[in-house]
Each structure stands twice: as structure tokens, then as C-alpha cells.
């Protein structure tokens, strides 16, 4: 039995987790945005490294207590060291180096995006590889071909806005609350997804890259009038806004599904997995699951708690790196790029 403590501080969330054999999550503690809001009086997002410094110690302690593990029970310390905010990453990296040295355990450096790509496998009895992974969040929208846990190949990614970012910005255009993703889905549930034919940007017939900047601008002009960026919102009824939200969401989901199916076709892989913050969107999960059923493909979505940033996926990914002997030294640095 191999037990790993994972640490994640790449952006807004401070998280620590204990995971056994890469799939059995014994604890997964995430210091939530809600706590930060209360503590700092509405600062969104709290990006200061200070927030991570203040919370990381207690988050790690809690993760160890909930998992009922002592330092002696651990086989390795894993930490996200890329990509992300260097000032934020470095807090987790420094803590992990200190624990690795003090407890005499190997240090493992994890790529945050690769951890997301493998996150749908957490908790499954059997590994789903080989698979196409669609990873959709506020900061990333990418397709991967995963031959095995140590063979992750990026097939395509967004060339401008991430899908989650488009959700947030369209929510802002429609005067909805932050965070925009859940609001678009909630408001759109009462609307007609076919009401408005927003553009589905495909970037060429064989491209696995994404572009969501155009649809954001299309919604903007639909609301404000051609070539305008203000006004017009007050003339829309609740039903209009529901139709726009539903139609926008449908257009984004159509693109995500078409590209994923194109990746399946190009690679001949017969399993699809879904992860990242936007994977919490039930309309997307259902639509992708239905499409996979229709095409006789296996489908696994990451559990909601492993969709947003979390340390369980870091420890899970690190398990395979440990087995492969991919160990970092105490000279490990944080890096903004992947």
C-alpha cells in the first residue's frame, strides 16, 4: 500500500490530501473561497500568497488527521509546481520541500493540468485508459490522449478564452452573479437552447484546438446590438435571458462534444473522460454521456469534488510518478508555464 500526501496551491484554493495507491482518497481538504470571502471581507479572488501561507499548515494537519495518518505512514510528498501563479505555487513547493526533508520522504513534482487529466480515474475500480480526456475549466480547455497514467499527450487546447471563462463573461454580460458557470446553467434551464443560433467556432475540419472568444462577442452584440458593448440589457425579459443563457450553453457544449468526438475518431480510442471545473455542469455531463452511449464509447466524468482545484488529484497523479521513479530534488522550483 502506497500513501501520498498531496499539496496544491496553484491559484485560489489551498488544498492538501492523503491518497492511497493513486485512487483511494483518505482525505481531501480544500480551503474554500467562501471561507476566504468571510475572512477577508469579500476579496475575490484572494490571490495573495499570504492567504496560502496562513492556511496551508492547518490544511495539511487536517488532511493528515482526517486520513488518520502519521508522517511515518507516508511514502511520498507530492506538490503542484506548474503551471500557475509562481507566487502562489512557491508556497506549496516550499512547504512540500520542508516536509520531504524533515520526514525523509521522496518529493514529487506534479503538473496541475496532467493531474486534472487523470482526475476522472479517481475512485474507479479499474483504470479507464487508454482514453480521450476533455478538461474544461476557467483557465483551461484541453483535449488529451491518455495512453496510460505516464503517457499524457495534449491534442489541442483553447487559442483564446477557456470555456469556463466564456461562461463567466457571458454571465456578466447578462447581469448574472459570479461565479457565472452555475448561474448560466440555472437560468438557462428555463430557456430554449435552440432559440438563438450562436456561432460554433471549429477552426478547421481536423483541428482539435478551441476558440470561445467569438461566441462571447456574439452574445455581447445579441444583447447590446451590433457593434455596441453597452445598453439593451434592460429591454430583455427574464425569458429572453433564459433563452440566451440556454442557447449560449448549448453552443459551447456542441463545440466541446464535436471536438471530443473528432479526437476519438482521429485516435481510435473508445473511452472518453471529463474533468475540470466546468465538468461540474450537469448539462455538459449529460450531453457528453449521451453522445458516448450513442457511439458505444465508455464514459467517466470526474466526481464533482475532483473537478475544481484539489490536492487529491495531485496525490493521485504522483502515485504513478513514484512508481516510475520520477522523483524531484530539493532544488525543485515553481514554474508559471506547463
Amino acid at each position: 500500500m502506497t500513501t501520498i500526501l498531496g499539496i496544491e496551491t496553484s491559484c485560489d484554493e489551498t488544498s492538501a490530501a492523503v491518497v492511497t495507491d493513486g485512487t483511494d482518497v483518505r482525505s481531501n481538504i480544500v480551503a474554500s473561497q467562501a471561507d476566504l470571502h468571510a475572512k477577508y471581507g469579500g476579496v475575490v479572488p484572494e490571490i495573495a500568497s499570504r492567504a496560502h501561507i496562513e492556511r496551508l499548515d492547518s490544511v495539511i494537519t487536517e488532511a493528515m488527521e482526517v486520513a488518520d495518518r502519521k508522517p511515518d505512514n507516508l511514502d511520498a510528498i507530492a506538490v503542484t509546481n506548474r503551471p500557475g501563479l509562481v507566487g502562489a505555487l512557491i508556497i506549496g513547493v516550499t512547504a512540500a520541500k520542508m516536509l520531504s526533508w524533515a520526514w525523509g520522504k521522496p518529493l514529487i513534482a506534479v503538473n496541475h493540468i496532467e493531474a486534472h487529466a487523470l482526475s476522472p480515474a479517481i475512485g474507479l475500480d479499474e483504470a479507464p485508459w487508454p482514453a480521450i480526456a476533455l478538461i474544461v475549466s476557467g483557465g483551461h480547455t484541453s483535449l488529451f490522449r491518455i495512453a496510460g497514467p505516464m503517457s499524457i499527450e495534449r491534442l489541442g487546447a483553447t487559442t483564446d478564452d477557456a470555456a469556463g471563462e466564456a461562461f463567466d463573461k457571458v454571465a456578466s454580460i447578462l447581469g448574472l452573479n459570479y461565479p457565472g458557470g452555475p448561474e448560466i446553467e440555472r437560468v438557462g434551464a428555463g430557456g430554449d437552447p435552440q432559440a438563438i443560433d450562436f456561432p460554433r467556432t471549429m477552426l478547421g475540419p481536423e483541428s482539435l484546438d478551441f476558440s470561445f472568444s467569438g461566441i462571447k462577442t456574439a452574445v455581447l452584440y445579441h444583447v447590446h446590438g451590433q457593434g455596441k458593448t453597452t445598453g439593451g440589457l434592460e429591454e430583455l425579459s427574464q425569458d429572453d435571458i433564459a433563452d440566451i443563457a440556454a442557447s449560449f450553453q448549448q453552443a459551447v457544449i456542441d463545440v466541446l462534444i464535436r471536438k471530443t468526438m473528432l479526437a476519438v475518431k482521429q485516435t481510435g480510442v473508445s473511452t472518453v473522460v471529463l474533468g475540470g471545473g466546468v465538468a461540474a455542469n450537469r448539462t455538459l455531463r449529460t450531453a457528453l454521456a449521451d453522445e458516448c452511449t450513442k457511439r458505444d464509447l465508455a464514459f467517466h466524468a470526474a466526481k464533482p469534488e475532483y473537478c475544481t482545484d484539489n490536492a487529491a488529484m495531485i496525490a493521485a497523479r504522483a502515485y504513478h510518478q513514484l512508481l516510475a521513479g520520477d522523483i524531484a530534488t530539493l532544488e525543485l522550483d515553481a514554474s508559471a508555464r506547463g
Binding site: C11, V43, V44, P45, E46, I47, A48, S49, R50, P83, G84, L85, V86, G87, S137, G138, G139, A157, T158, T159, D160, D161, A162, G164, E165, D168, K169, S172, I173, D209, S213, K216, T217, L220, Y221, Q226, G227, K228, T229, T230, A336, R337
Partner: protein, 166 residues
């Protein structure tokens, strides 16, 4: 185009033309320069930065994506180009906490989207570019330089524009 010593206006009629304009800016970047982009959603800020990165000789402009969520992107080219976004930030203090000061050095240039949101944290010598939406795909870019470095950058950029489009 209209201009005076420290002001300059030019127009584009498509996202592609915006990238071309950005390329001229990217060719004439000076180490230590900070550029502040101001304009509404859909104005083409990220498109302009794609052009700037291309003019600064980065490998693949597909890597130039919106930093709204990740807050900072970094691209290696002739100069290190830091691409920041203040859309989700509410105070200059949060912006400075990104390590903004450390990004500015002789071998780098910094571009900040939604820079008006953190106006007080922007250096005095910032080259400001205000983007106005003047039609469905038409945009107007107003350049304002304050300080010696931004003035030099603006002058170099105008020469570059004249060289590219005689």
C-alpha cells in the same frame, strides 16, 4: 490616423488587422515597457496581445490565451513577455500581490488587460492603449504615452507601422 507627440490613433477593421497592428507593437517593444490595455468585453485585447507576442517572436501564438483566470501568462521571445489580466481583481493591492514589480525588468515587457481596474498600481511611464468598439469588427486604438520610455516605445512603434505599411 491622427497624432501628436504623445498621442496616436489608428483603426482596424477585423480581428486579423488587430493582430497585424499588435505585431508592429511587438516588433518595437523596449525592455522594461509596461502597456496598459483598456476596453470593454470583446474589444480584442487578447487578439492584440497575440499580435504583440508574434511581433516579439514567440514560437506559437496559439499559446497566447486570455489570462483572466490564470491571471498571468508568460511567453519567451525576443523579450520575456508577461501577459496579465486584472478582470477578476478588485484592488491595486491584489494586483501588486501577483508580483507585478518583479515582472518589470530590462529584459521583459508587460501587457496588462483591464488595466483601468488597477490604474493606481500601473507605473507612471505606462503606454496606455484605449480600445473603442466602433462597429461589428471595427476597432479604434488610442495610444497615450506618459514618461520617457513609453514615449520612445510609441515613436519606435510609429516608425515600425510606417515601415510595414508605406
Amino acid at each position: 490616423m491622427t497624432s501628436s507627440a504623445d498621442r496616436f490613433v489608428c483603426k482596424t477593421d477585423s480581428p486579423e488587422a488587430t493582430i497585424t497592428l499588435g505585431e508592429a507593437i511587438g516588433c518595437s517593444l523596449i525592455g522594461g515597457l509596461v502597456i496598459g490595455l483598456v476596453g470593454p468585453l470583446g474589444a480584442g485585447k487578447t487578439q492584440l496581445v497575440k499580435g504583440i507576442a508574434s511581433g516579439n517572436s514567440i514560437d506559437d501564438t496559439r499559446d497566447v490565451t486570455s489570462p483572466t483566470f490564470v491571471l498571468v501568462n508568460e511567453y519567451a521571445g525576443r523579450l520575456d513577455l508577461y501577459h496579465l489580466d486584472a478582470y477578476r481583481l478588485s484592488t491595486p493591492k491584489e494586483f501588486l500581490a501577483l508580483g507585478f514589480d518583479e515582472f518589470i525588468h530590462g529584459g521583459s515587457a508587460v501587457v496588462v488587460e483591464w488595466a483601468d481596474r488597477v490604474h493606481d498600481a500601473m507605473p507612471e511611464g505606462t503606454l496606455w492603449i484605449d480600445i473603442a468598439v466602433t462597429g461589428e469588427t471595427a476597432r479604434e486604438f488610442s495610444f497615450r504615452s506618459s514618461g520617457v520610455l513609453a514615449g520612445r516605445a510609441l515613436q519606435a512603434f510609429r516608425q515600425e507601422l510606417e515601415r510595414c505599411s508605406p
